[in-house]
């Protein structure tokens, strides 16, 4: 019973099994439990590619990694301390990522002849010396699960479905946790399915008890609560957070949210999430394609609502013509791109940051719009809210970039109360204003923002479209001078938004120094972790993270010039770096990883070590 309990600062656990093994559910439950006891954490689910691959094969492996600690956590962790392998393929595809001396919990039933063959093992690795350098716990989970369900009336196939609860119970035991909140979850989930509930609860407990009973495991671990800012927390993943940000902005602005979208991985979950909340008056519209999706959102915005569309790379490509129309119409529109690895269909379930230049430049003609990026799961909420604020207050389309990594990754979130959310000023023309003077659709205020007037408002009847418009009146104009003026005005209007976004801050490190690491989007956690280490190690390095890319924060140039070197890590072949070099003419250096996976803390640290030591080499890198 009372085995030795070792305290750890932080731990990385990876749950891996076949797609059918329910590892995502285990991961999410463990995450919630971890969050509830007050650890900081980061997670990364690792789905198989889009088609359910054959059982037992490596492409069929589904994984969930969680990094938790009593210290600040910003990533799901580079390498694992504990690996749960439900079958041979799961072991094979994850072993390289396990720390030497790490713990393996292997379901022996998943290492039968067929599984071994499918995973490409000649011999059973559980039975030879290959795993010597790890702490291997072999458990016949299938057998133990069935045994614990002797009295349950379910069939064997159904019983086997609760195997994952055995794992969860055992891991709870291993980390000295309380299983109550998972019990509560199961009771909610299977409220009407008594036998299934019974099976899940029993197996969960069986897994927990197995730890106590078995002699072979002498060690347990515990991770104390992290010192986190006081407040109320929940755990959140990026896509739902983004959806919540949109709903919050809809309620705070008083504009009805309309989400027009066409399913695409990894953006679909936003549609799914919003569709759940119809009691917030959100309209979700699954359009026939991405073009119809954005056009329907334009129609909704034209009608005085909050038009939103969301997609991923290939879908974004299809929206670019309509984006041009929204730029001409100068109406609010939020366009979300949950980036995935490209080009073309690419690697739909993998992450990448390679749609940035498309967002900034990917339209015909001079077509400026606002480009912003979320950096962590919880920042998806903030940036979605910001995207709405800017779109509505500045009458412009806003492209908000997220990616598969933060969309599906979780972290604890000190969520705001609705009162604390900033105001969103909506100014739609009212009927009574009509008397005062004739409505001029393209008359602008001091921020170059035109007035929104919507159908149903007497006295404001007007016609707009995609042809070039005469300044002020909005009538069609083929006048050359007018065209130049309008092109410049549209650009100036977007640039002027820089006045209404936060100044760029330094996330960590000194205000001046040798090296600034400038990031954007989902690399936040890796850069933050790396820089924290590097600062501790005494390196002169700082971190700034961009959330606003078009326009850049007003003070960005100033900040960049405070450092001898600027390093820009991106999960692409170099995109932000092009904007920075072009705008500020500084020889920024890129660190680029294009493997469909996040940059790890250590990779980045290595890069910094090499940069700060081999000075000469860098000095000569003038062109990229």
């Amino acid at each position: 019973m009372s085995k030795f309990i070792e305290e750890r600062k932080n731990v990385v656990v990876k749950f891996a099994g076949d797609s059918g093994d329910g590892m995502q559910l285990v991961g999410m439950q463990f995450t919630n439990n971890t969050a509830l006891i007050g650890n900081d954490l980061g997670t990364f689910p690792d789905f198989p590619a889009e088609i359910r691959a054959p059982q037992g094969t490596i492409p069929g492996v589904s994984g969930f990694q969680i990094h938790f600690g009593s210290t600040e956590i910003y990533t799901p962790g580079d390498a694992c301390d504990v690996l749960v392998a439900m079958n041979a393929a799961a072991l094979k595809s994850n072993l390289t990522n396990l720390k030497p001396g790490g713990i393996i919990i292997a379901n022996t039933d998943g290492f039968d002849a067929k599984n071994l063959r499918l995973a490409g093992y000649e011999e059973n690795p559980l039975n030879n010396e290959s795993l010597q350098s790890y702490l291997l716990h072999k458990i016949d989970i299938t057998k133990l699960t069935r045994e614990s369900l002797k009295d349950n009336p379910l069939g064997t196939r159904d019983k086997d479905r609760s195997k994952n609860m055995f794992v969860l119970g055992f891991i709870y035991w291993l980390f000295n946790r309380d299983i109550k909140n998972t019990e509560a979850f199961l009771k909610r989930k299977f409220i009407n399915e008594h036998d299934i509930l019974d099976a899940n609860l029993k197996t969960l407990r069986a897994g927990y008890n197995y730890g106590d009973i078995t002699e072979s495991i002498g060690q347990r671990y515990m991770v104390r609560a992290a010192k986190m800012e006081p407040g109320k927390y929940r755990s959140v993943t990026g896509n739902p957070a983004l959806a919540l940000g949109l709903i919050a902005a809809s309620l705070k602005s008083g504009l009805k949210a309309f989400y027009g979208s066409y399913p695409i991985t990894p953006a679909s979950d936003i549609l799914h999430e919003l569709a759940k909340h119809k009691n917030f008056d959100v309209i979700t519209f699954q359009a026939e394609d991405e073009i119809a999706a954005i056009c329907s959102a334009i129609g909704a915005s034209y009608g005085g609502n909050l038009g939103i569309t969301g997609t991923s790379g290939p879908g974004m490509a299809l929206k670019t013509e309509a984006l041009g129309l929204a730029i001409m119409l100068e109406i609010p529109l939020v366009v979300i791109n949950i980036q995935r690895a490209g080009p073309s269909t690419g690697l739909p379930t993998k992450t990448e940051q390679a749609d940035l230049l498309q967002a900034v430049y990917g339209r015909n003609g001079e077509s400026p719009l606002v480009v912003m990026a979320a950096s962590t799961p919880s920042s998806c909420f903030d940036m979605a809210y910001e995207a709405v604020r800017i779109a509505v207050e500045h009458m412009t389309p806003v492209v908000l970039l997220s990616d598969g990594y933060i969309a599906n990754g979780a972290e604890p979130w000190r969520f705001p109360t609705s009162d604390a959310l900033p105001e969103i000023k909506v100014s739609i023309a009212k009927e009574k204003d009509a008397a005062e003077q004739k409505y001029l659709p393209y008359q602008r205020n001091e921020d170059l923002v035109r007035q929104w007037a919507v159908p149903g408002t007497s006295g404001f009847e007007h016609r707009i479209g995609g042809l070039e418009k005469e300044d002020i009146t909005g009538n069609i104009s083929y006048d050359p001078e007018n065209h130049q003026k309008m092109v410049k005005t549209r650009e100036a209007k977007i640039e002027r938004i820089a006045k209404y976004i936060p100044k760029q801050t330094i996330d960590q490190g000194a205000e001046k120094g040798r090296l600034l690491i400038l990031g954007w989007g989902s690399t936040y956690g890796s850069i933050r972790s790396a820089v924290r280490d590097l600062l501790e190690e005494g390196y002169d390095v700082a971190h700034a993270h961009l959330h606003y890319i078009k326009p850049f924060p007003e003070n960005l140039g100033e900040i960049l010039r405070n450092y001898e070197k600027v390093l820009i890590p991106e999960i692409n072949n170099g995109q932000l770096i092009r904007l920075i070099r072009d705008t500020f003419l500084i020889p920024a250096i890129g660190y680029n990883k294009i493997k469909g996976t996040p940059i790890t803390k250590n990779e980045l640290k290595e890069q910094v070590y090499s940069m700060l030591s081999i000075e000469k080499e860098i000095a000569s890198v003038g062109e990229i």
């Binding site: 969050a35 073009i291 329907s296 915005s301 038009g307 309509a322 016609r463």
Partner: protein
């Protein structure tokens, strides 16, 4: 023509979502936007615009509740000329834009203006989907069997072997039959009229408006620059009586200079008959029933080249009409149902989610 009267009444009953209101009487002139109309002199679009301006005051709508949404094409300039709300959008996408607008603003009267290229070439998919969804929208499909705005390429409705800018040796595509297309997409209202019959066009515009659901009204429109006379056989005095047949719900299918011809249904095979010959009277004729889907299919296939011997007359009027629930209503009903079931959303509860914990100082 009886349709006009019939519909003027029904308009009052079915007010198309926008309440009939007491308001200063609107005249056709009050719908002129004052923008210089920029079609070629003689273009059929002028007549369509005029008939629209004529009937708008009769619909009992407030000006500000009317929205015209078009794509790109000569026809798509239409919204500029009406003093209502309007959007001249991008090529082929008007139905999608209108869908978003109608979903969020069901009380508006929304008219989609499109051409044969805009609506059936680049925009064919949105057209099909808007029809199946059945928003309460009115689609005016200006068919001139040519791309006017881009100066004369053939369109998906151009006859085979058309000599156009892009087909100097004749086009090879088998054209769409727009009404068959609309029926195939489960359109709930499918009709045809023409630019050169102002009365009929006015009547049909009103009927289209009165239909609760997506109304698809094809309008034969002469492009006198690039495809002059494409429909003259149907629209001009000489040939019109023998080459057209005007459908009226409940009335027999008669046509001809002296209404001496009729159509009978022999099983499901239509035949042209001479009234009086072989003892055939109007009582024997096919009685038009616009709610009959099968018959509407048969009528939509009266689509032969009028130069071909023994061809059927081209029908005008309402081919098919069906009451089907409105998409925007279904949307709003669902919102209501969920609100009733779950209660109005509480933002703070939503943000907090199911499981929270507190970190104390």
């Amino acid at each position: 023509m009886k349709v006009t009267q019939e519909i003027q009444t029904s308009t009052k009953i079915k007010s198309n979502g926008s309440a009939l209101v007491d308001q200063p009487l609107l005249s056709p002139k009050s719908f002129e936007s004052g923008q210089e109309v920029r079609w070629c002199p003689g273009c059929g679009d002028y007549s369509i615009l005029k008939q629209m301006q004529q009937i708008l005051p009769d619909l009992g709508l407030k000006k500000e509740d009317i929205v015209f949404i078009s794509g790109i094409g000569c026809s798509s300039r239409f919204p500029y000329y009406l003093d209502t709300f309007g959007m001249h959008s991008i090529h082929g996408r008007a139905p999608a834009i209108a869908s978003g607008l109608k979903a969020t603003r069901p009380e508006l009267s929304i008219w989609i203006i499109t051409g044969d290229g805009d609506g059936l070439s680049i925009g064919g998919n949105h057209m099909a989907h808007v029809l199946r969804r059945n928003f309460d929208l009115n689609i005016l499909f200006f068919n001139n069997e040519i791309y006017g705005l881009t100066k004369g390429q053939y369109s998906p409705t151009s006859a085979e072997n058309s000599i156009t800018k892009s087909t100097p040796y004749g086009s090879l595509d088998h054209p769409f039959n727009p009404l068959a297309f609309a029926l195939g997409a489960d359109g709930s209202f499918v009709a045809r009229s023409m630019d050169r019959d102002p009365k009929h066009l006015q009547a049909l515009l009103k009927i289209a408006h009165s239909h609760k659901g997506t109304s698809f009204l094809e309008i034969y429109q002469n492009c006198n620059i690039f495809n002059n006379g494409a429909f003259f056989v149907f629209t001009e005095k000489d040939s019109k009586p023998v080459h057209t047949i005007f459908l009226e719900h409940g009335a027999p299918l008669v046509y001809g200079v002296n209404k001496e011809k009729g159509i009978i249904l022999d099983g499901y095979t239509p035949r042209i008959v001479e009234l009086g010959e072989n003892g055939i009277s109007t009582n024997d004729l096919w009685i038009h029933d616009e709610t009959d889907r099968t018959k509407s299919h048969i009528l939509s296939r009266f689509f032969e080249d009028p130069r071909v011997e023994g061809n059927f007359p081209r029908p005008f009027g309402v081919f098919y009409r069906e009451e089907r629930s409105l998409f925007e209503q279904r949307i709003w009903q669902q919102l209501e149902t969920v609100k009733q079931k779950k209660g109005l959303g509480d933002l703070d509860a939503l943000i907090a989610g199911n499981e929270t914990w507190v970190i104390k100082e």
